[in-house]
C-alpha cells in the first residue's frame, strides 16, 4: 500500500546473512559407515545445519558454512558416528 | 450554577436485593418522560446480604456530574431493618423524602424530612415474587418512588418489562403499580 510512508520494522528473511561457520573451534565429522540413519543429529541441531541428502555414499551432511561446532550432534548420535575434530 | 432541577436519589438495600437494578430501571423510566438520568452503584465490591447503596440522578438536561451523591433529595430503603445497621438519613437534604419498605411503623424518628411507607414485602409475597427465600421488593419500591417523584407509573411499568422481559416483567410491573397506589405518608 503506497499511501503508507512510515519506516516499519519488517524484513524478508534470507539465508545466511552471517556466516556462523567461522565461529567454530571444532567441526563435526561423520563416519558414514557407522551411520544408522536415525536422524537424531538432524533433529537436535540447534542451527538446522544438518541436511538429509540420502545419496549413495551418505545419508546426512553438515553445512559447514553455518555449523557453529557446538557438538550436540556428536553427543546425541546413538552409534558414536560423529567425532568433533579441532579446526586446523 | 448547579442545575436547579437536579434530583439526587440514594437507594439502601442489601447485596442481591436489586438496588442497582432499581436505580437502572428508574432512569430508563424517567427517560420516557423526557428526563435525563444517571444510575450508579456504590463504587466497590458488593456481597450478598451486606448493606449496599446505589444512586440515581434525574434532570431535564444532561447531568454532567460524576462525583458521588452526598446530599440526596430522596432516600429509598428496601429493607426495614437497614436503619438499625446504617444511617440511612446521612446527608439527606432538609425537606428531603424517605421512602421505606415498612407496613406503617418505622424507626426513622422525626426531623426535617417526610417519610413514605409501603409494605413492599407483603406485595412481593402476595404476588409470589420470591427468589432464593428473599422477597423481591425492588420493583415495588420503584412504584412507590414513582409516586413520590411524580413520575407516570405507566412509564415505570414499561421500563420494568423492557428490562426484565415479558414474563418476569409483567408481575414486577403489577407489584410496582400496587405500591404506587398503596404508598402513604407516615404521620
Amino acid at each position: 500500500m503506497s499511501e503508507i510512508s512510515h519506516i516499519l520494522p519488517l524484513s524478508k528473511p534470507k539465508e545466511g546473512i552471517s556466516r556462523t561457520g567461522t565461529w567454530r573451534l571444532k567441526k563435526p565429522v561423520i563416519d558414514h559407515s557407522k551411520c544408522v540413519k536415525c536422524m537424531m543429529c538432524w533433529l537436535h541441531c540447534p542451527e538446522s545445519t544438518i541436511d538429509v541428502v540420502e545419496s549413495s555414499d551418505k545419508f546426512v551432511e553438515v553445512n559447514y558454512d553455518f555449523c557453529k561446532g557446538c557438538g550436540v550432534c556428536a553427543n546425541v548420535c546413538p552409534v558414536k558416528a560423529i567425532s568433533m575434530v579441532p579446526e586446523g | 450554577m448547579i442545575q436547579k432541577d437536579l434530583v439526587e436519589i440514594r437507594f439502601h438495600g442489601r447485596g442481591g436485593q436489586g438496588a442497582v437494578t432499581a436505580a437502572n430501571i428508574l432512569v430508563a423510566a424517567a427517560w420516557k418522560s423526557g428526563l435525563w438520568g444517571q444510575a450508579f452503584p456504590f463504587f466497590g465490591a458488593e456481597r450478598r446480604g451486606a448493606p449496599v447503596v446505589a444512586f440515581a440522578r434525574l434532570s431535564r438536561r444532561r447531568v454532567r456530574l460524576h462525583s458521588m451523591i452526598r446530599h440526596p433529595d430522596v432516600v429509598v430503603v428496601l429493607d426495614p431493618k437497614l436503619p438499625k445497621l446504617v444511617n440511612v438519613l446521612e446527608g439527606l437534604k432538609s425537606g428531603g423524602k424517605v421512602v421505606i419498605n415498612s407496613a406503617s411503623r418505622h424507626d426513622l424518628g422525626k426531623g426535617e424530612y417526610s417519610v413514605y411507607c409501603v409494605d413492599a414485602t407483603k406485595i412481593a409475597l402476595d404476588l409470589g415474587l420470591v427468589l432464593a427465600g428473599w422477597p423481591l421488593v425492588n420493583t415495588s419500591m420503584l412504584g412507590a418512588l414513582a409516586k413520590v417523584l411524580n413520575l407516570p407509573i405507566a412509564d415505570v411499568k414499561e421500563a420494568i418489562v423492557e428490562y426484565m422481559g415479558k414474563k418476569k416483567g409483567e408481575v414486577n410491573a403489577r407489584a410496582a403499580e400496587r405500591a404506587y397506589v398503596e404508598v402513604s405518608v407516615s404521620e
Partner: protein, 393 residues
C-alpha cells in the same frame, strides 16, 4: 438516520462501539473493573449479533500478544484491561507501538497497588505515556462510545498507523448507566471502512517483524517516525472529530475542548470523568464573578501543546488537575503543560493540584474551592506559593 438511545454503563458503551466497529478478534483477561466489557462482547458473539473470535488467554501479556498477532495479520482487533493487568502487559504495549500495529485498547483506569484498591485514579493509564500509543480520555459514556469508534479510524489512518488507548474512569464511568445514542451500523460503516494494511503475513511468503536492525540508526529513525506520526495524528484527530460531528451532530473539539474560555483569565485543565464536575465548578465560579474557563484534555498523546498555548496566551493563571503523580516530581499532565507552555513563551503561572488519587471522591465544590484560593493568591501576591499541592478533602 435512525436514532436509538440505550441506557448503558461505560463498559457496555465500549462493547457496543467494538461491535459497531466490526472488530474481528478480541482477547482479554478479566480484571475488575474492566470485566463487563468483555462479558458484553462475549454475549454479542455468542448470540450471533457480532461476527468475531474471542481468544481466551492466561494473562494480559498474552491478551495483547494475541491481539497484536491478529492485527498484524490484517484484522481489526481489540483488548481491554485495568491497573495491574496493564502493568503485566507493559512489554507488549511498547512492542505494539514499535511494530506499528494499529490496535485499540480500553483502559478502565484503576489505582495501582499496594495496597489493593479497585477505585479510579489515572496512574495506570498515565504510566503508558512514553510508549508511542495514541492516548485519549473520555468524559461520559456517549463520548466513550463515539471515541472508541473514532480511535479505530485514527489508529488505522495511513498518516498515523499506531495503536491507541482510551481511558474511562473505574466505576465513575465503567459502572455508571447513562443514556447513549447508538449510531446506525451503516453510519459507522461509512465512517470506518475495512482495515487496510501495507503487508500481510501468509504462509509461503515469510516476513520477519521486529528483527534486529542491522544499524541502530535505522532503529532510531523508527522511533523518530513513531514520534512524528503522533504529531501528525493531531490533524487526523481534528478531521475525524469534524467528520463524526457532521454524521452525528456530536463534536468533542478533537484534541481539546474548551468551556467558557473565550473571555477567561484563569483556566482549569483536566482530563477524564471529573471534567463534568469541573464544568459545574466553572458555572459556579462564573456566577460568583470569577473569569474562569475549562480546558478539557481529550488527547494526552499527542500532547496538545500548541492548542493549549493558543487558548491560554494572555491568561493570568491556570490550574492543572492530575489524578496521578510522577512521585518525586509532579503530576504528568502538569509537567507536559508547563514544559510546552514555557517553550512556547506563554508566561502564565501554572499550579498543579494532585487530587482524587486512589479513588478519593472529588466534587465540583472541591474544585471550586481550590480554584478560588488560587485566584485570590495570584490577584493578591502575583505568584503561586505551593505550586504542587496535594489536595485532601
Amino acid at each position: 438516520m435512525k436514532l436509538v438511545v440505550m441506557h448503558l454503563t461505560g463498559n457496555y458503551a465500549v462493547a457496543w462501539a467494538v461491535k459497531l466497529s466490526r472488530v474481528k478478534v478480541v482477547s482479554a483477561y478479566p480484571i475488575t473493573p474492566q470485566t463487563t466489557i468483555v462479558e458484553k462482547i462475549s454475549e454479542f458473539v455468542e448470540s450471533g449479533m457480532m461476527d468475531a473470535k474471542i481468544v481466551r488467554v492466561e494473562s494480559e501479556h498474552s491478551a495483547l500478544a494475541t491481539v497484536f498477532g491478529a492485527a498484524s495479520s490484517g484484522v481489526r482487533a481489540f483488548t481491554a484491561t485495568s491497573s495491574h493487568g496493564l502493568m503485566y502487559m507493559y512489554e507488549m504495549v511498547w512492542w505494539s507501538a514499535g511494530a506499528r500495529v494499529p490496535i485499540v485498547m480500553a483502559i478502565v483506569t484503576r489505582t495501582i497497588g499496594a495496597p489493593w484498591n479497585i477505585w479510579s485514579d489515572h496512574s495506570d493509564f498515565m504510566s503508558q505515556r512514553d510508549t508511542g500509543w495514541l492516548m485519549m480520555f473520555a468524559e461520559h459514556n456517549q463520548e466513550v462510545l463515539d471515541s472508541v469508534i473514532q480511535l479505530f479510524r485514527i489508529s488505522e489512518d495511513p498518516r498515523v498507523y499506531l495503536p491507541g488507548m482510551i481511558a474511562l474512569d473505574a466505576f465513575i464511568l465503567s459502572h455508571t448507566t447513562e443514556p447513549v445514542d447508538i449510531p446506525d451500523q451503516s453510519l459507522v460503516d461509512s465512517f470506518l471502512p475495512g482495515r487496510r494494511q501495507p503487508y500481510t503475513f501468509k504462509s509461503g511468503d515469510p516476513i520477519t517483524m521486529g528483527n534486529l536492525p542491522s544499524n541502530p540508526r535505522d532503529n532510531m529513525r523508527m522511533r523518530w517516525d513513531v514520534h512524528k506520526s503522533l504529531v501528525a495524528a493531531k490533524k487526523v484527530i481534528t478531521e475525524v472529530d469534524r467528520e463524526w460531528s457532521k454524521l452525528t451532530g456530536r463534536s468533542y473539539g478533537g484534541l481539546i475542548e474548551c468551556y467558557m474560555c473565550s473571555d477567561a483569565k484563569y483556566f482549569i485543565i483536566g482530563a477524564g470523568a471529573w471534567v463534568g464536575d469541573m464544568r459545574e465548578a466553572v458555572d459556579m465560579l462564573r456566577s460568583e464573578g470569577y473569569e474562569v474557563g475549562l480546558i478539557k484534555l481529550r488527547f494526552v498523546r499527542p500532547f496538545p501543546a500548541e492548542e493549549l498555548a493558543e487558548v491560554m496566551r494572555g491568561g493570568k493563571g491556570a490550574i492543572v488537575f492530575d489524578r496521578s503523580v510522577s512521585a518525586g516530581s509532579a503530576g504528568p499532565l502538569y509537567l507536559d503543560t508547563v514544559a510546552h507552555l514555557g517553550a512556547l513563551n506563554v508566561e502564565v503561572p501554572v499550579k498543579n493540584v494532585i487530587a482524587g488519587i486512589a479513588g478519593v471522591d472529588v466534587t465540583y465544590n472541591d474544585i471550586a474551592s481550590v480554584v478560588r484560593s488560587f485566584i485570590e493568591e495570584i490577584e493578591s501576591k502575583g505568584v503561586v506559593s505551593n505550586y504542587v499541592e496535594w489536595y485532601f478533602r
